[in-house]
Amino acid sequence: MKKLCAILLVIAMSVTMIAGCGSTEKKQADTSQKTEKTETKEEKEPEIPATEYPLTINDQIGNEVTIKEKPEKIVSGYYISSSTCLALGLKDRLVAVEEKIEARPIYKYAASDIMDSLGNVGSAKAFDLEACLAAEPDLVILPKKAQDYAKTLTEMEIPTIVVNPESHDQLVEMITLIGSVTDSNKEAKALTDKYDEILTKLSELTEGIKEEDKPVVYMCGTSSYLTTAPKNMYQASLISTAGGKNAGDVLEGDSWVDVSYEQILEMNPDYIIIPTNNMANGQPDYSAEQLMADANLADVTAVKEGHVYNMPAGYEAWDSPVPSGILGMLWMTATLHPDVYSMEEFADEAAEFYKTFYHFDMDKSTITG
């Protein structure tokens, strides 16, 4: 039995190394220090050691933070880190989260019992310091845009870490960081291992597809379908992992770019995807029907063949680097290449993911229809 575990561990480590080397996103410095305890490449032991306190680490913007003891009351001011806490089994240690949780379905599924008792600390730009302090936290997690509030909290001697999950790699980094800080390294590793497993599967599925066979995919913006994602955005990487070509790759920029009808006709995408609009802001301002009815787009392949789809929004924003965002990649693959990976298979995998990490039973018919 031990031998089997060791072999599995070696495979897991190799896959991790390959995935790590293959990424192109910028890595934060000094993260190796904190991953020492969880992703040790030298250790042969199958056990993942617990975190030792006091722990000094660097958060995702390079601040050095010391956590004196295991946090029992966690405040998360960002929907991505809150979801991560749920996935790492920290539900019972969460005392307050960001505002508008009723708009995010994942809370209803995974945390309905604590929804009413959770404190509300406002949004990232309008963070409510007093509400946060009223919850008496011993750990606060904030996104980069709230870093000034983080400074104030640190001045008041509340351990605060700042996270910045802008890409898949940074998401993994954040998960490992939170896992280490909250002594839930086992759960963190399970989650990141799962990512690696899925990514491997995806690359296997799509490696047979030739470059010229890869469909052109146009990801719409949230306020108008005359906006799309250029090469450097998360959504672009989503498409390429799923074996597609991002229509917006020809464009420059780090955020949504406006395009004209002519440009869309020139791109002539095979598929058009309508995003989730991050849920807390409501649904996109237009529907698939409106888009398909638009006479100016009638000649686009995607419209002619009816390949205009909404990214499913019933759980999490799968088109952003959220913990279950990996499912977005799987869904996209099933949509683009149903012959290689069917929607039923996807529904099974998604249900299994949510059962394992969020402990609820997903209704597969919401995916398969």
């Binding site: 509300n120 409510d128 509400a131 845009k145 870093q147 104030t152 008041m156």
Partner: protein, 340 residues
Amino acid sequence: MNGLQKRRKETIGVFLGVAVAVFIATVVSVCVGKYSISIEDILAILGGSDEVSVMSRKVFFTLRLPRTFMAILAGAGLGLAGSVYQIIFKNPLASPDIIGIAGGANLGAAVAIVSVSSSGMIGIAMGSFVGGFLAVLGVMLLVKVTRSRSTATYVLAGIVINAISKAFIMGLKYFADPENELAAMEYWEMGTLGNTTASKVMAIFPMFFVGFAGLLLLRRQIELLSLGDNECRALGMRLRLVRTIILLLSTLLVASVISITGLISFAGLIAPHISRLALKRNNSLTMCLSGLMGALVVLAADILARLIYSTELPISILTTVIGVPLLIYFLCERGKERVI
């Protein structure tokens, strides 16, 4: 002298009334907040007792007290500056917007938000301060270039600078990233006291004080400026010098406030208006009352901002909600009797 005594009594009454209201509002403001600190605790903290928890003490001194203090400073500063502008531009609708400070500060903040992504509050504060000053300098330069010597030119130049600022801001908003930068810009435009900490208040207080005290000391000159330009000159006022000093002092005052809080609309417009109508005068007493009224309005708005909704609302919403009905009421009053 009966009329004089009656008026004096009325004036004292009004001042006392507003001062008491400000005091009450201060007390309420210090007691309100998501982190509950009871009144007994507050008294204990002030009394120097050790029985209160460390966190309560920290919240009180780092967040609650500076925030209340900043509300008073912001209101007093905007109220005084608004009163000064209404007097020297002889325009009852004048406010810190009129010579472009608000527009310039807005542009400065927007530039800071978009250009230096990790600048945070310090960068935005500095950007808005510099922007406000540059706007006023731009106005003064325009006036000099047109070689006009009249006060009305300042208002026109202010319109020009405001228009330029708005155009640039629109451009920046268009190219900004809607998730982060655009949201931050819109948020700054609505103003908030939520970011106030003791260190920030300390940082701007010297400049605030210089502007505030300077304007109060120059009250006689400001009163004189309510006359036409020629009359001022005939009475021996060195118009260009005095106007420049007053504009610079008021810019210092307003810019130091809004660099911390963002734009707080209406306070600088309505406080002087109410004061004028309450005292039926437009002199240095009105300026002082305007400062007090401004403090009251901003304190009240900040209290409501924290209480009304489950999360904190931007303060300009509340100052507008409080200000507009008051303004409508006073407009009606104005129609009834002959007021200034």
